[in-house]
Subunit: 137 residues, 2 copies
């Protein structure tokens, strides 16, 4: 068991990036425990997050560093970064400004499966994305 | 915004599996909000989870279905399954028997980064894995 804890290694040595050089980061509200989103980090974005204490991810769709909130203002102040037993998933405890989700909800997990396997909204709309990101053309 | 919510689709139609046919599932304690682990599901394990209301994953290391707790007894009763805005991450709200982590902790996220970028234990040991899984040869 002691071996599995890897406590002799540094935090950055313990992180296992996948074959794309990415690691998933679960993002949780520090105070309420609500899970807000999951995003991906490469080493550069993780180092920037550790340095600035603001969540920074790797955008797989835009293929670039993504300082959370740089467009929307909805920043995440990072209090703690935890790592799982296998070293291949991170958990960020944050204070979220506004909503985390680009659709306008507080959490990206704003829909849940019903018994009949349709979906229902289970979260609060925080902003109108057209006001924040502009209208889609 | 309405388009992004995809509320006209069924839950299963909304899930986007990756190129390996897998989707990550974050697992959170239903009562306390503690994040316990992240695992991966394929369609079969997701359908089994929906059917049995017990968490079932796809083990990438063993390449087979993995009914959580089948070896350890540490089952997860599933209360709700949420899906994120992009449809590519799930969030399970569960009641966890014993510890979720094979190392013996309540959560797989039992280590956190310190200011000096070493790690410290931040969780409770629930069982001795040698008692549960046997000694490693």
């Amino acid at each position: 068991m002691g071996d599995n804890q890897d406590m002799g290694k540094s935090f950055l040595e313990t992180v296992k990036f996948d074959d794309r050089g990415l690691v998933p980061a679960i993002v949780q509200d520090q105070e309420t425990g609500k899970v807000l989103m999951m995003a991906w980090m490469n080493l550069e974005s993780l180092q920037m997050t550790l340095d600035k204490k603001r969540a920074c991810y790797w955008s797989r769709s835009r293929n670039k560093l993504w300082l959370k909130g740089e467009s929307s203002g909805n920043m995440q102040v990072v209090h703690d970064i935890l790592i799982d037993c296998d070293g291949d998933t991170l958990l960020l405890k944050v204070s979220q400004t506004g909503g985390a989700c680009h659709v306008g909800y507080h959490s990206c997990f704003y829909r849940k499966a019903t018994e009949a396997l349709s979906m229902e909204i289970c979260d609060t709309l925080m902003f109108n994305p057209e006001d924040v990101y502009g209208k889609k053309s």
